[in-house]
């Protein structure tokens, strides 16, 4: 049984089809990235999974259960929406105590102390949340979402609106929690760099359909071309080295980009031959590296350069 199962999910609003036959699954314990441009239907998918919206077709299961029907099953699920779900007039500890009561935690004091320490808000435990910065609220929101030790936690844009330092703190917190609490993390995010760093599997949603669904490693490997970046010890030799490289039968392209040469090979298997040929031709190589494509490039390829899925 997967942690999350989505099969043939479709949903329209006012005659406009937002989700069309969406299918994917998330394994237990993994950090899953759900990507897509604004309005692609990511939040709609999460709302359907959480039982807040009903699908027109298809089925969704979280831990094998339909959350639309099962009130009790929601106790195994945590959620962080963009608003954090906190009351500004209550203190950090009171906010957590309230949710502990809703989720039926018997004696939550130790757990609240543990989480406030984990999100580095121990010294602000009695301060009203309204006095917190956006980053502090987000960290407290994450603590609230995992307070009841859910098996699956849905995080909707957890880094949205945060400065780079706070983004990093939230990112580290998610990875730490996934390991420490052994929970499945379903991450809705626009931050592709963040997703590439922490997610094991991603699905890219655009135009209402899943455009790609695989592990980050496989997605990058599948779309990877054997493109080599070469730095010579003698920069003046670049033009000659470029001519030498393009003459090789397995080099389809070579460009002098000023500081480096960028050569595209026909097959990754010939990389050792390529390096050996340059050395044999008398060039002294300072650096040779294989250029990897980023998740951002793969994402843009799937959703279009505009990034809006059009």
């Amino acid at each position: 049984m997967n942690a999350v199962d989505v099969r043939g999910l479709s949903r329209s609003f006012d005659g406009r089809e937002i989700l069309r036959d969406v299918t994917f699954s998330v394994d237990h314990g993994e950090i899953f990235g759900y990507l897509g441009p604004n309005g692609a239907g990511k939040t709609t998918t999460v709302r359907i999974l959480l039982g807040l919206l009903t699908p027109d077709a298809g089925e969704c299961r979280v831990l094998g259960q339909d959350l639309t029907l099962e009130d009790g099953a929601r106790a195994k699920v945590g959620v962080l929406f963009e608003n954090n779900g906190l009351a500004d007039r209550l203190s950090a500890a009171d906010n957590l105590a309230y949710y502990a009561g809703l989720y039926g935690l018997d004696d939550p004091r130790d757990r609240i102390d543990e989480l406030l320490a984990l999100v580095d808000l121990e010294d602000r435990r009695n301060d009203p949340v309204g006095t917190f910065s956006t980053g502090m609220k987000r960290r407290l929101g994450i603590a609230r979402a995992i307070l009841h030790r859910p098996e699956v936690v849905f995080l909707d844009e957890p880094s949205s609106g945060l400065d780079p330092g706070a983004q990093r703190m939230v990112r580290d917190l998610i990875v730490d929690l996934s390991r420490r609490e052994d929970m499945t993390v379903f991450l809705n995010s626009h931050h592709l760099d963040e997703v590439q760093r922490i997610c094991s599997t991603v699905a890219i949603l655009a135009g209402g359909r899943i455009q790609a669904f695989d592990s980050v490693r496989n997605l990058i490997a599948a779309s990877d071309r054997p493109e080599m970046t070469v730095v010579l010890a003698e920069p003046g030799e670049r033009a000659r080295a470029c001519e030498t490289a393009i003459a090789l039968p397995y080099v389809s392209d070579c460009e002098d980009e000023g500081e480096v040469l960028r050569c595209t090979l026909t097959d990754p298997g010939v990389i050792p031959d390529f390096i050996a040929a340059l050395v044999a031709a008398g060039f002294r190589l300072l650096e040779v590296r294989r250029s990897s494509r980023s998740l951002e490039e793969i994402y843009l390829e799937h959703v279009g350069q505009s990034g809006d899925g059009a």
């Binding site: 009903t54 106790a75 699920v77 929406f81 779900g85 009351a87 809703l102």
Partner: protein
């Protein structure tokens, strides 16, 4: 502790920390009954006989108004800032959530209504220079009828605020309150004895209030999560 108690406790906590609503409620709890006391004295002359009846009649609109203003903070605020979406994901039924919130806002609303009743009596006593005779029917009125109508007003407005969009809520909120005022006025005009306190009037008001509270509970149970989520701004 039951989830009902948890939800109600939080609403009381939040209401008591909302300075602007507390100040509004206190001003209304003092100003409205004090003005009403002037009316009581003007119509009764030196007699203190009708004081209990008029005070009973005055506390009902105050109770409804208090239910309304405390309710707006509990339901509409959570919808406006989106917190309601997180609450809907908790293992609590929507009807439980509604009931806890309604009961939670009813407590501060009831306390301020009690204050209004005391102010009305004190003002009337001062102006008449005599202590008005307390009618024993005021006890069930304050212990049963007033809380029932606070719960009814808060429950109805709360259910409507969950189900309706923000713009509709702005328009319909006041219509609900005036609807309640007209309903009470209408009931008092058809019940024999008019606005004077009587067992018949108290029973009729209690029964009507309980029936409306049941209707509000039924409506709250019919509101879908989808409806609430789709009307979050």
């Amino acid at each position: 502790m039951s989830t009902f108690t948890v939800i109600a406790g939080r609403e009381i906590h939040l209401a008591l920390r909302n300075r602007s609503i507390i100040i509004t409620a206190l001003i209304f709890a003092v100003w409205f009954p004090a003005l009403s006391a002037v009316g009581i004295v003007a119509t009764s002359g030196a007699s203190t006989d009708p004081v209990s009846g008029v005070v009973a009649a005055v506390t009902l609109p105050i109770a409804i108004f208090m239910g309304y203003i405390f309710c707006a903070d509990a339901f509409l605020r959570e919808k406006r800032d989106g917190t309601i979406e997180t609450l809907l994901c908790a293992p609590v039924s929507l009807r439980h959530l509604w009931a806890g919130k309604t009961a939670g806002v009813a407590i501060p609303a009831y306390l301020t209504t009690l204050l209004a009743a005391v102010v009305a009596f004190a003002a009337a006593s001062t102006m008449l220079n005599a202590f008005p005779t307390l009618d024993l029917l005021l006890i069930p009125h304050m212990l049963i009828v007033v809380p029932v109508w606070i719960l009814t007003a808060a429950g109805f407005v709360g259910a409507a605020q969950l189900a309706l969009g923000m713009r509709e809520n702005q328009i319909l909120g006041f219509l609900f309150i005036f609807g309640f005022f007209f309903l009470i006025g209408g009931l008092q005009s058809v019940i024999p004895g008019g606005s004077a306190i009587s067992a018949t009037a108290e029973v009729a008001l209690a029964v009507t209030g309980i029936a409306l509270l049941g209707l509000a509970r039924f409506i709250a149970g019919k509101v879908s999560k989808e409806r609430i989520v789709m009307t979050i701004p």
